[in-house]
Amino acid sequence: MEDSRLVLSPSPHVRDEDTTQKIMLTVVAALIPVWAAATYFFGFNSIRLVFVSIIAAVGSEAVFLALRRKPVTVWDGSALVTGMLLGLSLPPTLPTWMAVLGSFVAIVIGKQVFGGLGANPFNPALVGRAVLAASFTSQMTAWTMPFTDAVTSATPLVSGQASYAELFFGTVPGSLGETSALAILLGGVLLFYRGILDYRIPVGFIGTTAILSFVFGQDVVYQLLSGSLLFGAVFMATDMVTSPITPVGRWVFGVGCGLVLVVIRFWGSLPEGLTYSILVMNAFTPLINRWTRPRIYGQVVKQV
């Protein structure tokens, strides 16, 4: 009793069980149904692209950190998530080396140059995707029908030809992970129940898109189910690092994403604006945080 030195530390003395790593692995788990669906529809390409993206992302992170002589913290799982999401956001026929380049850009330009985990202003996976889209536009817009390797001209968003059921189950051309609304919702529910997903962003995002689609006389359900809206709203807009931390801010963020998405979809020259809608709102995140500070308990007027 005399000899043992006691531990001295500031309160609180107990901590919640959740860790960054657990959160990231849960996201991976939530992506498994999506990946499974992608593999079912697009076959080997799904396995090839996602694997390659993951390996390139984690590898780039490890190499960069090693070069900086920093602890190689790849086990936190964030690069894994980035790689997986990037892989799932690619069209099935993309050449392997492009996926590698995209993952490299995502991790290095999108994340590590800003100081690594938690410091990146933009969603790394989307940075990777956007760079690929801007560099290899034709390869990034080459879609295939599920179960075939036949290149088709357009996704349902452009062609406007798919039934709700097809869209819901995912038997339509599109990026690997975006086609099956069912699988995405499954993952989303898991994230929500694990308390990882803040409902405000997806609800704001999807809700705004739905309302504006209705206002502009579009087929609301079709707009929601086609394209990568669901995938992005559930897995990418909700990236905590690049979305606001205030409750009101997360509404603003979600609604803003929806607004930009609709503007690009309906008036832009790109068929799908998801990547850009989230990236644009990422850029606003610091400002949103600053201007949506919660009212402190006991304060009467909201501070600006």
């Binding site: 030195r5 006691l6 531990v7 001295l8 530390s9 500031p10």
Partner: protein
Amino acid sequence: MYNSLVALASMGGLGIILSVGLVIAAKKFSVEVDERIEEIEIALPGVNCGACGFAGCRSLAEAIAEGKAPINGCPVGGIAVAEKIAEIMGADSGNAPERKVAQVLCRGGCAEAAQRAEYDGPNDCRIMNTTQGGDKGCTYGCLGGGTCVEVCPFNAMYMDENGLPVVIEEKCTGCGKCVEACPRDIIILTGEEYGVHIRCRSLAPGKEVRQVCKVGCIACRRCEKECPCDAITVTNNLAEIDYDKCTVCRRCVAVCPVHTIEEQDGKPEIKAKKAG
């Protein structure tokens, strides 16, 4: 040729209008300002490129005059401009004050000082200090969290293997940030030529000091007796040195039984000057 003359005339007209306008405006809207700002502004390149991070040359000039920006704040002007500004500013600020250097007045690192607990929390001395006073046996000594190193804007400090901060004297500018940050108040600023320091701040009685630290001042008064210039006095269980009186004869260093007094490895010529 006709067109050339039209060009000449219209540009001339424009020139007259604008220059007259500016001259009148300069008279009419002249505002009293700090002369130095004006002078610095003239010394600056005046391109208002914003490379300095300020809103144009005038803002930088104001910032320099108010001491909010360094004299070499303009990257465009380079060294030449910096020198000129130094002249302008220097003329005003008189002789450069004596260069000060930070001194860490504690020698009780991991090897010398006892621990009373295992600290497990943020590595910041200020937080350690408010967490039950920290894990160190001595409640006066260095906590070893390296907050001083952290706050030093000039990278002039590092933590040694023994868990004590070390000041790199060439780099230290005497800004005093570390002094402010240290929760134990064991860093002081001295003139750089002072050569002997009593590196302990403990006011505890000798007996208690012995229990917690091998190199803490036990107030034995030997240094006080040994000092030929009455530079050392022991009050409140702690020897203190009057730097003005000290001639760096180093006799106290030799007699201190616990090696609390330490000679600063300063520049040889300064030591010689002081000794001679």
